[in-house]
Symmetry: C2
Subunit: 349 residues, 2 copies
C-alpha cells in the first residue's frame, strides 16, 4: 500500500528469515568482531586480485544466507545486489555461480537499503516466495577505485571514512514460503513493515573526503519524508540507524533534524560508528561502504530486533553519488538514502 509521497506500508510484511555477514580482518578486530559469521583473515581471500576477493565475499555471504534459511540457490527467485565498483563487477562476477535472476543495483553505500526495499516489494507483491538482498565493499578495491593506490601510503583527511571490507546478505520471504523446523518454527529475524525511498539530494558539498557531510542531507530528507509519510516521529522508533555518516555526518544530521523539531540524540546510531573502534583502529570519521551497513545489519542490528531489545528500527543506508570523473570535473557530491522499517516479531507470529 502506498503511503504518502515516497513510502510503502506492506500489506503482507515480508520476513527476514536469514542473514549472513562475511567481514574482513580489521572489521573482525573491531567492536562487532565476535558477531560476524565469518571473518576473513586475508585481504585477498585466496584470489588473484582484490576485485575477485570482493566477488568472493559476495559469493560466501549469499551461500551462507541461503543455507541458514534452509534453502538452495535454485529456490531464490530474484537476487537484488550491488557494490561500489565501476560497472558493478564485484556483483556480476560474484553472482555467476548462483544462477539466480539478477537485478543489479547501484545506490553507492545505500545499496543494502535499495536491495532490501526492492526484494521486500517483490515478495509482498507475490512475485517471488523468497528473494536475496546483498551488498558488499572491500577497502582495497574502493581505495583503488576512488582514491589512491595503497602503495602511495596516502594521508587521509580526518573527515574521511574507512571503507569496510565485508558482504552482508539477507533472505526475505513471504510467510507461506518460510521453511519450518522439525517440530518447531524457524522464527524469522525481523519483519519488514515498510520502506521510504530516497531521491538524489544535492547540497553542493564538493569534498569527496567528507562523505558524511555530503550524505547527511539525504539521510535527513529520507527520515523527514518517512515521518511525514507514516505520520510518525522519532518516538515511534527504538533506533534510527544510518549507514555510514560517521562522526561529521552524524552531527549535521542531528542538527538538520533538530531544526525541524525532531530530537534523535538518544535514538540515532550509525553503522560506520559501530563497526570500528575509531580511536584505536585509526578509521577517522568511521566506517563506510555498502558492506559497512550490510554487515552491521546482519551481525548486530537484526539479532537485537529478533531478541526484542529493539521493537522497531528505521534502517537507512546512505550513499554518496560521485565518481572520480565527476569529482575531478568539479561536480558536487550528491547523496541518497533508502529507509527500511524493521520490526520485532512477537511470539506466536
Amino acid at each position: 500500500m502506498q503511503k504518502g509521497k515516497a513510502s510503502i506500508a506492506f500489506d503482507h510484511p515480508p520476513y527476514i528469515t536469514a542473514a549472513s555477514s562475511v567481514a574482513g580482518k580489521k572489521e573482525g578486530e573491531g567492536p562487532l568482531g565476535a558477531l560476524f559469521d565469518l571473518v576473513e583473515q586475508e585481504d585477498m581471500l585466496g584470489e588473484k586480485n582484490w576485485e575477485a576477493a570482493e566477488s568472493r565475499l559476495q559469493k560466501e555471504a549469499a551461500e551462507l544466507a541461503i543455507q541458514k534459511a534452509g534453502r538452495k540457490a535454485g529456490e531464490i527467485r530474484y537476487l537484488f545486489a550491488g557494490d561500489l565498483l565501476a560497472q558493478l563487477i564485484a556483483t556480476s562476477f560474484g553472482s555467476i555461480s548462483l544462477e539466480i535472476p539478477l537485478f543489479g543495483l547501484y545506490g553507492a553505500c545505500s545499496t543494502m537499503g535499495e536491495a532490501m526495499s526492492l526484494a521486500a516489494m517483490a515478495v509482498d507483491a507475490g512475485y517471488g516466495d523468497r528473494c536475496l538482498a546483498m551488498a558488499s565493499s572491500h577497502f582495497a578495491t574502493a581505495e583503488k577505485q576512488f582514491r589512491f593506490p595503497l602503495g602511495y601510503g596516502n594521508q587521509r583527511a580526518l573527515s574521511a571514512a574507512w571503507t569496510a571490507t565485508g558482504a552482508g546478505a539477507v533472505v526475505i520471504e513471504g510467510k507461506d514460503g518460510i521453511k519450518r523446523g522439525k517440530g518447531e518454527e524457524l522464527k524469522p529475524l525481523a519483519r519488514i513493515s515498510g520502506i521510504t525511498t530516497g531521491r538524489v539530494v544535492d547540497f553542493g558539498v564538493k569534498d569527496s573526503s567528507n562523505m558524511g557531510a555530503a550524505m547527511a542531507p539525504a539521510a535527513f530528507h529520507t527520515i523527514w519524508q518517512h515521518f511525514q509519510d507514516f505520520e510518525r516521529d522519532e518516538k515511534d522508533y527504538d533506533k534510527i540507524i544510518t549507514g555510514d555518516l560517521g562522526i561529521v555526518g552524524q552531527t549535521i544530521l542531528l542538527d538538520l533534524l533538530h531544526k525541524e523539531g525532531y530530537d534523535l540524540a538518544g535514538i540515532h546510531m550509525d553503522c560506520g560508528l559501530e563497526l570500528f573502534d575509531r580511536e584505536n583502529q585509526d578509521t577517522h570519521a568511521g566506517g563506510s561502504g555498502c558492506g559497512c551497513s550490510a554487515i552491521t545489519l546482519c551481525a548486530y542490528i537484526l539479532p537485537k530486533i529478533q531478541d526484542g531489545t529493539w521493537k522497531r528500527v528505521l534502517f537507512i543506508p546512505t550513499g554518496s553519488l560521485h565518481s572520480t570523473v565527476s569529482y575531478n570535473e568539479g561536480q558536487s557530491v550528491p547523496g541518497i538514502a533508502h529507509g527500511v522499517v524493521l520490526e520485532h516479531i512477537e511470539e506466536g507470529w
Copy 2:
C-alpha cells in the same frame, strides 16, 4: 503472478503511456533519424563535459516523457534508471532536478529492460500509479570509460560496436492512473504483459571488443527461459528484439536457438543493427549502449506496436558485464539480458 522459473505474467498489465527519445547527431543521421523526438546537433549539449552532456540527455528525455503523459514530475512515484558510467553518474546528476525517488540500476546495456521490468512490477503491484523507466549512453563518455581517449584516433575492431548517444524514457502506468484526453481517450503505446529476468551468463568470452559474442549466450538464455516459462515459442511473437548484439552476436544467437529447435530468422531484430547504417556510418558490428535499445524502443518499436503492425513483441536489451579493471585482470566478459513482453492494445481497451 509468477510464471515458471524466472518470469512474471502481470495480473494488471501496466501500460506504457508515453515514450521519449533524445538522440545524438550521428543517430539522427541514421535510418531512424526522422523518428526521434529530439536530435541534439552538438555532442556536448552546451555542457562543460561529456558526462554532464549525458546527464542532460537523461534530464531532457525524462521531462519530455512526463510531459507527453500529461503529467508533472511530482506525479511520478518512482524513477528506475541507469547508465554505463562508473558509479552511475549520468543518472545521479541527470535526475537531481526531477526530485523523484530513485532506484539506481546497473545492467550494462540491458538497463532499459531492467528498469522497465521493475517499473512494471511496481505499478502492477499498486506501489505507484505511474513510474518512469530510463536509460542513457553517450559515445564519448563510453569511449573514455571503457576504451581509449578519442584524441588517440584508435582503430576499432570490426567486431566492435559503436556506443549510441541517446536517452530513452517511458512512463508506465496502471489503467486507473492514465490521464484521459478532452472527450477522447489517451491511448497508451503498449501493454507490458510479462517479463523474464535474466541471470549472469558466462561463456568465457574474453574479448571486450566483441561484446556481441559475449552477450549472445545471455540473450539466448533469457529467450529460451522465456519460452519455457510462458510455454510459448517464436511463433507467438511478431518480433523478438535484442538490444545490441550487432552482426556477430546476432549470428551466434540464431545458431544457439536453432540448436534448441527455434527458428528466429525472420522474426529477430536487433536495435544495434537498426540504429545505424553500418555501411555508410562506419559503425562496424552495430550500435550499442543502454541508449541504443532505449531510443530504438521509444522511437521505432513502440509506435509499430501502437499502430498494430506488431501485435506482440519480446524486447530483450542485452548487457555485457565488464569493466576496464575486470578486463585488464584477465576476467571473461559475462552477459545478462532482461526480457519484456510488449503487446498491442486493441480498440476499446
